[in-house]
């Protein structure tokens, strides 16, 4: 087998020797990887488990219900009443949390500051679903929640806006005409995490009309296999409801996995997720194919220039297979250089285009580093490079290996 050092030396020699082709090849690869990675990273940021939403892969979501009786049909968030009567008894869920959000006006107790904030109404289980980093204090507990105490966790950003650099724990603010006491401060959360992001988190039981509010229900499973069991349980609840309430119908949309709920939105069509996957695959296929064909052309001319070398190698014992392997390995090095460059470009593109790529993302929102610098991303880039390298090299390499030795040497 060819010595790796020799192969690397030769590859870099050839890259230096043909600067124009090298620049075009590396740039072509970089742009292709950048386009692919931007699309994949947007998809991954929305779907894979990333802190603080670490449990995405084991969480199921029920975000809406449809209630129908003889005279009307209502669609909306999960009602507290139905949750309390039925869903809270789901046996296959390891943990359940009920959550809703709203834009609220808050003001400091003195009335000197007033601002609009995103407020999450949640229960004590919520803190087990999402992994927050507390800068100070802690979250409200089960007793606080059960008693409906006016305790709040706020973000670091809000803490600084309301109270400056001083410790905010123990301080109060007014929300919905109630005085809330700050018990904990968490590090700022990016809005790209829809279930974690907020400025304020309070027990929903502290709200006077919490029984009339609509919620999203998050269910934590022991393993992904429990999804079928939980789905079955939800369907049974729907049947039970109809049996008890004759002439009435209750339908839940879900439970959905993270990926399903990202793509299904408010639609209960089972084909939607398949269509989304097909759409994404087709886009990625063309993003791969077009640069791969271009690079294939470059590789063909590059390999043609090396016909004599291929002939010499074969004369001294190289097989067709070893020639193809060498071409693939050499090209992989170029592609990996382009891949690293492409990944850096995709970070830049993601930074500047984030408001277009993530609909509803505030202008000043940042994408946290842990969402884009992860083993998943590096693995995807590496696999993309291998795929691009194979597609763009295999045809030229096969053609080069096909020449007879005498022909190659004569060339």
């Amino acid at each position: 087998m060819i010595n790796r050092d020799t192969m690397l030396k030769q590859t870099f020699y050839l890259l230096r020797k043909n600067p124009f082709i090298t620049v075009i090849s590396v740039a072509g690869t970089a742009v292709a990887i950048m386009m692919i990675m931007v699309i994949l990273m947007v998809e991954m940021i929305k779907t894979i488990p990333i802190a603080p939403e670490n449990n995405r892969d084991k969480t199921l979501y029920i975000r809406s219900e449809m209630y129908k009786n003889k005279s009307s049909t209502n669609c909306g968030l999960v009602s507290y009443k139905h949750y309390n009567d039925y869903l809270r008894y789901l046996e296959n869920a390891k943990l359940k949390t009920l959550l809703t959000k709203g834009q609220e006006i808050i003001k400091t107790s003195s009335g000197s500051k007033r601002m609009e904030c995103t407020c999450s109404y949640c229960d004590d289980n919520y803190w087990k679903f999402i992994s927050f980093d507390f800068v100070e204090g802690t979250h409200f507990n089960r007793e606080d929640f059960a008693a409906g105490l006016n305790k709040a966790v706020i973000s670091q950003k809000l803490s600084e806006e309301l109270y400056g650099k001083k410790s905010a724990v123990g301080k109060t603010f007014i929300l919905n005409n109630k005085k809330y006491s700050v018990v904990g401060i968490v590090e700022n959360i990016s809005p790209i995490f829809p279930y974690a992001y907020s400025d304020i988190w309070i027990p929903y039981t502290s709200s006077f009309n919490y029984e009339k509010m609509g919620y999203s229900l998050l269910l934590l499973m022991d393993s992904k296999k429990d999804k079928a069991l939980l789905t079955q349980e939800v369907r049974e609840i729907e049947q039970k409801f109809t049996t008890i309430h004759e002439g009435e119908l209750l339908t839940y949309l879900g439970p959905y996995s993270q990926r399903e709920q990202v793509h299904n939105k408010w639609n209960n069509s089972p084909t939607k997720i398949t269509m989304e996957t097909i759409k994404l695959s087709v886009i990625l296929f063309f993003l791969f194919l077009i640069p791969a064909l271009n690079l294939s052309g470059f590789n063909l001319s590059r390999i043609k220039k090396r016909t004599e070398e291929i002939g010499i190698r074969k004369a001294f014992g190289a097989t067709k297979r070893s020639i193809i392997r060498q071409m693939l390995q050499e090209n992989l090095i170029t592609t990996l250089i382009g891949g690293v460059l492409g990944l850096l470009l995709s970070y830049i593109a993601l930074y500047f285009l984030r408001n277009h790529l993530f609909i509803g993302l505030p202008a000043d929102a940042v994408i946290p580093l842990n969402a884009i610098v992860s083993p998943y991303i590096f693995l995807v880039v590496f696999l993309a490079c291998i795929l691009l390298s194979v597609i763009s090299t295999i045809v030229p390499a096969l053609r080069a290996a096909k020449f007879t030795i005498a022909e190659s040497i004569r060339s």
């Binding site: 010595n3 070398e309 010499i312 001294f316 014992g317 040497i409």
Partner: protein
């Protein structure tokens, strides 16, 4: 026992319009330890003969037996391994790989051979033998023609082949350098390597043990 045996070798090159007979019913055998010169005018089929003998090209008809092995029925992989172990090549235009340095060029046959661990050491030894150990980190473009041919000889002998096929090895060299190369080939022959060499130079041919002459694809002497 003959180390090379060609039986009824015919090689025809075909294009859409023309059919060229490069070799026509050639029969020859070379004994182990021979040093043979192949002579003849340009286009008489000398290089084609060497290509067929070295398994670099397939005959249209006939059987090539090397070291007692009928190579006609070998598969591509077997042929590659057989060529690697049995044959060494020296070409008129050296055919060194320009992107590899001298040491890597010389190591080339061994990288395609399984179980060779001391490749670099062996490459250094053969470079020493051809008097080029001081040039091992140089690239072919940094060497003279004579030095390039000595690197090519080092590459041909590193795998201890039984046969060396040399196609006009002095064709691109001046007479002094040419003589050095011929001396080197004679040394190898004295050490037991069988050599078949194509040449146009009668003086050089006279120094070999046997001369075969070709004309219009046929052996005439």
């Amino acid at each position: 026992m003959s180390i090379i045996n060609l039986e009824g070798i015919t090689k025809i090159y075909k294009t859409d319009e023309v059919e060229t007979i490069a070799l026509e019913n050639v029969n020859l055998s070379v004994e182990k330890g021979d040093f043979i010169s192949v002579m003849g005018p340009s286009g008489c089929g000398k290089s084609t003969l060497l290509n067929v003998m070295g398994l670099l090209d397939c005959p249209t008809k006939g059987i090539v037996t090397l070291n007692g092995v009928d190579t006609t029925k070998m598969k591509e992989k077997e042929t590659a391994h057989f060529r690697n172990k049995t044959l060494g090549f020296v070409f008129q235009s050296f055919h060194l790989i320009s992107s590899l340095n001298v040491l890597d060029n010389v190591e080339l046959p061994l990288i395609y051979r399984h179980g060779v661990s001391n490749r670099t050491q062996r490459a250094k030894e053969v470079l020493e033998r051809v008097g080029l150990s001081h040039r091992m980190r140089h690239y072919p473009s940094q060497l003279s023609g004579g030095q390039c041919q000595r690197v090519a000889i080092a590459r041909a002998i590193i795998g201890n082949p039984d046969i060396i096929l040399a196609d006009e090895p002095t064709g691109n060299l001046d007479s002094k350098m040419g003589q050095e190369i011929i001396d080197l080939l004679h040394q190898l022959n004295q050490d037991g390597t069988t050599i078949v060499m194509v040449t146009h130079d009668e003086q050089i041919a006279k120094t070999t043990k046997q001369v075969m002459r070709f004309f219009d694809g046929r052996r005439v002497e």
